[in-house]
């Protein structure tokens, strides 16, 4: 492509019906704890 460069191969749509296993870490987003923002979590599977 000439005008657009796609950066990633995301999986968000494919996890709509999968996932939910709940094995991942809790993710507080507040100043007092650093385990913030789900966007930067990894999946335990």
């Amino acid at each position: 492509m000439k005008h657009i460069k796609t950066v990633n191969k995301p999986t968000l749509q494919s996890t709509v019906n999968k996932g939910g296993c709940g094995e991942c870490q809790a993710s507080c987003q507040s100043a007092c704890k650093t385990s913030c923002t789900v966007g930067n979590q990894t999946c335990e599977k």
Binding site: M1, K2, H3, I4, K5, T6, V7, N8, K9, P10, T11, L12, Q13, T15, V16, N17, K18, G19, G20, C21, G22, E23, C24, Q25, A26, S27, C28, Q29, S30, A31, C32, K33, T34, C36, T37, V38, G39, N40, Q41, T42, C43, E44
Partner: protein, 454 residues
């Protein structure tokens, strides 16, 4: 309207995020302008709107590229609604143990009221600690991975109970097959050699609190006598991190109105030899150090600076992890997790020193938020349900926001603090969150491209 895309400029790049797929695209200036008009269905309108500015052949060429992305579901991907994998009830698998409502520091901005949490200085007993562990084992049901965070106040003030609970956890792991991740958040004052050894032997992850530069740290984090603590804690942190080969720790700081040039603090932490870092905004209302709406332009400009400094350090081979920039653009958590967010009140509880249960550490002692106790269980059955259902797709401001699947709805405790309602996010928090996400997307996109291009 529900935002399906988000476009922004960051570090000289024109970036497009497709919200429902998580796809990130770098555009040229023309395609970037086209996205002000193009909605997936209006090719002719888009050409007409920009014909004066760009050649029509180029516009049509870009349109065909945009349609290619749409066919690949990387642009205007279908809306995501609450998935069936998002169970109606949460499973509690994480707990924050407030082992000491007491602290040996007097941090100016402490939400725990220097450890007291609105009550008296109190230490958790062994019995409460054991009951908390049993509570998780029972209520985490089929989940294998559980978490306990030793928190306070300063948890090392109550080291005997931390040790006791840890031994108890390790024994119960063997008996139940559960795996507990243990974390301890500390100000570092009491981290001597014997504590170090014990933490390493028992595989306790650490969150170490340091606010960057010496003068910044000493201003807001004095000890009970009003003396600076930077030199003492830095020495302890250094020895601590070295003793575990630089693994399993985060060095984290808080920035306030006093140091809106916090890039300097992040770099000071890196220069002190630490490479797993996080620096986050203080949350406070009506305080001299509070960050307010009017500070936002300054804060945003500072994140721009931090982003460039971060990338530059990497280029120089002196890179470090910065928590908010560690975003996995290609993988990342499932939709169910993105809705659960922090899990406060439904997957994650805090246990006060006396055994009372609260939705999270920040709610401890807040009127109307007591859930029950580790001995009697949850007696307020309504609250966990309310927290569970307070996800991004149910909150008026969040459901249309472009950041909804990345932010997962902000901090309930802040929403409650500012609006008395966990469903109404705190605006300054949102503004910072969105800016940070833009920076993180730019950082990760840049790194991914560098890798692809070798």
């Amino acid at each position: 309207m529900r935002e399906a895309i988000h476009k922004f400029e960051q570090g000289g790049r024109y970036i497009l995020l497709d919200v429902n797929s998580g796809s990130v695209h770098f555009l040229d200036r023309m395609a970037y302008d086209m996205m002000d008009v193009f909605d997936g269905t209006n090719d002719e309108e888009t050409v007409r709107a920009l014909a004066g500015k760009y050649p029509e052949t180029e516009l049509r060429e870009a349109l065909s590229e945009l349609h290619e992305l749409m066919d690949a579901k990387q642009l205007f991907a279908p809306d995501i609604s609450v998935p069936p994998t998002f169970a109606a009830e949460g499973v509690v698998k994480s707990m924050c143990l407030m082992v000491a409502h007491d602290c040996n520091l007097r941090c100016e901005y402490c939400f725990g009221g220097t450890g007291e949490y609105g009550g008296t200085r109190e230490l958790m007993s062994r019995e409460v600690g054991e009951a908390a562990v049993e509570y998780i084992i029972e209520h985490s049901k089929g989940r294998k991975h559980c978490e306990i965070d030793f928190f306070g106040g300063e948890p090392l003030v109550n080291l005997p109970v931390v040790k006791h609970v840890t031994e108890y956890v390790r024994r119960r792991e063997k008996e139940t097959g559960k795996i507990f991740k243990l974390t301890l958040t500390t100000n570092g004052l009491l981290l001597d050699e014997s504590v170090r050894e014990w933490l390493n032997e028992n595989h306790v992850s650490l969150v170490l609190s340091l606010d960057g530069r010496r003068e910044v740290h000493d201003r807001v984090r004095p000890d009970a006598g009003g003396n600076g603590t930077y030199d003492r804690v830095l020495k302890n942190f250094r020895a601590m991190v070295d003793s575990r080969d630089g693994k399993d720790y985060y060095l984290r700081g808080t920035y306030t109105k006093y140091n809106l040039d916090f890039t300097e603090d992040v770099l000071a932490m890196a220069d002190a030899g630490f490479d797993v870092l996080s620096v986050e905004p203080v949350v406070a209302k009506d305080a001299p150090y509070a960050i307010e709406e009017a500070d936002m332009p300054r804060v945003c400009a500072e994140y721009d600076r931090l982003t460039e400094a971060y990338l530059e350090r990497r280029r120089e081979g002196k890179g470090f992890f910065f928590f908010h920039f560690n975003m996995d653009l290609s993988g990342g958590p499932c939709v169910a997790k993105r809705l659960s967010g922090c899990g406060a009140g439904h997957e994650y509880y805090a246990v006060a020193a006396n055994g009372d249960l609260y939705p999270c550490h920040q709610f401890v002692g807040r009127e109307g938020y007591r859930l029950g106790s580790v001995f009697e269980g949850v007696t307020n059955k309504e609250l966990p349900r309310y927290f569970r259902e307070s996800h991004v797709l149910n909150k008026p401001k969040c459901k249309d926001c472009w950041a909804r699947f990345f932010c997962s709805g902000g901090c309930h405790a802040n929403a409650d603090l500012f609006h008395g309602d966990i469903r109404e996010p705190y605006e300054v928090g949102c503004a910072i969150q969105k800016k940070r996400l833009e920076c993180a997307i730019r950082v990760q996109a840049e790194l991914a491209l560098q890798q692809a291009e070798g």
